[in-house]
Amino acid sequence: MKNNLKDDFPIFKNHPELVYLDSTATTQKPLSVIETMRAFLADNYATVNRGIYSLSYEATQQCLQARQTVQSFINAKQKEEIVFVKGTTEALNLIAHSYLKPVLSDSDEILLTQMEHHANIVPWQQICKPNQLKTCSITPEGEIDHDDFKKKCTKNTKLISITHVSNVLGTINPIKELIKIAREKTDAVIVVDGAQAVGHMAVDVQDLDCDFYCFSAHKLYGPTGIGILYGKYSLLDSMSPYQTGGDMIELVSFEKSTFAKPPAKFEAGTPAIMEIMGLNECIRYVTSIGFDRLLEIETALYNQLLDEIQSISGLKIHGTSAHKAGILSFELEGIHPHDIGTIMDQENIAIRVGHHCAQPLMKVLAVPATARISLGCYNTSEDITRCVAALKKVIEFFR
């Protein structure tokens, strides 16, 4: 099947030779997202929530629409459960400060997994003592070890935070199943880091039964600087604000202030209006293609990659689960990932090398760094063929 989605992305007209295989870091943007944001700035720009004049009223309506778009995209119960934040990192920090910090006691435990990104480690670490942070092991295939997960879910577990898809291993974690286990054994609040999931699969927060779900638009073919914190309304309502200022208050006097209800309570200051419109458009773009087609494209390319890459000697893949998104981390025996990255770059192939913001996972895998190929909807069969050919060049060069 020919993949013509590449034509939707202007970057490939500007760089016809580019093979972009770093979509896990950030995705390229379709013209419709770029054009939506340009048109708002050029033709209709105004602030929101101050709707006396019509331009501002229109902008406010569009942001409201975006919130509803996100609500239906992840099937949240109500639009007030959708909070605009800068990205997944800010969402996780918000939960740590506004939810966990005020309720955390010394006997409580926080449960993470060994495959978490720094953004899903450090915010928790900042508010707890080292012995309160527990990590669930992963199997040699790069899956969450269910026995260890069961063991570490205890009556003291206050919060569990797990990535939906690993940015290094590519594993799609069985979140629904894990949450079921956790609900039986704990009263913990459950957070899902969805940064790597939303671009690859349909997400239904009610079906998953998570308490919080976080993601960024820029990994979903949208702009940077905007992301979503989903939280069950009763939880959001019980939490104190993260930042304070304009837009998040009811009444202010010099003696005291009262705060607005969620989501406004968590959205201090003028929001990233242009980016919110970009987010709305990227969801419309992805939804119009449909996850069935996206999955079909990605699966075909991933299988081709896996098939062709096996012919390379001394190549070790990290993350061999049967349930994977289009992410492939690997080592080439005797060749440092940075040398791989530089040579691939000379062939116009953009891959990621390094620790992928998952240093604890690198330690578990016992590697200093890996090289990573990750797929987006614009990749083609030719991209894979050129990538594998370039890897063979790397080997010729160094061996």
Partner: protein, 149 residues
Amino acid sequence: MSLDNLYQQMILEHNKNPRNFKSVDPQTHYSHGHNPLCGDDYVVTLRVDDNGIIEDIGFTGTGCAISKASGSLMTETLIGKPIAEVLKIKDNFLTLVTEDEKPVESLGKLVVFEGVKKFPVRVKCAALVWRALEDALLNKSNDHVITTE
């Protein structure tokens, strides 16, 4: 910019067979150089005699071809030289890999690293062991741990 310019044959050969890839024992100076973003990680150890001459120098650790070859050629060049001259070579080397003008003095074999400056993201790889050397000799850090990021 051609790859052969970055990965000169000599660099590839020193990457495969690094010289002085060892910890010096007994040692008088050491420093740990680490680039957390890419994972390059080396310890540079030296024994300096009473006259300020580098009697022995070695490096151990892991990293890319550029950083490893840099450690190999650095130690090979510096053995037997007085500290004052070593520091001058160090400054010249860092000029070679970062500045547009050529260093004032000839660097001998070390000129194979000249191509690195055309690959800005790789300059830190070449510089890492030299920054560790500088730290070992001049106590630039409090705890002898440095990074070039």
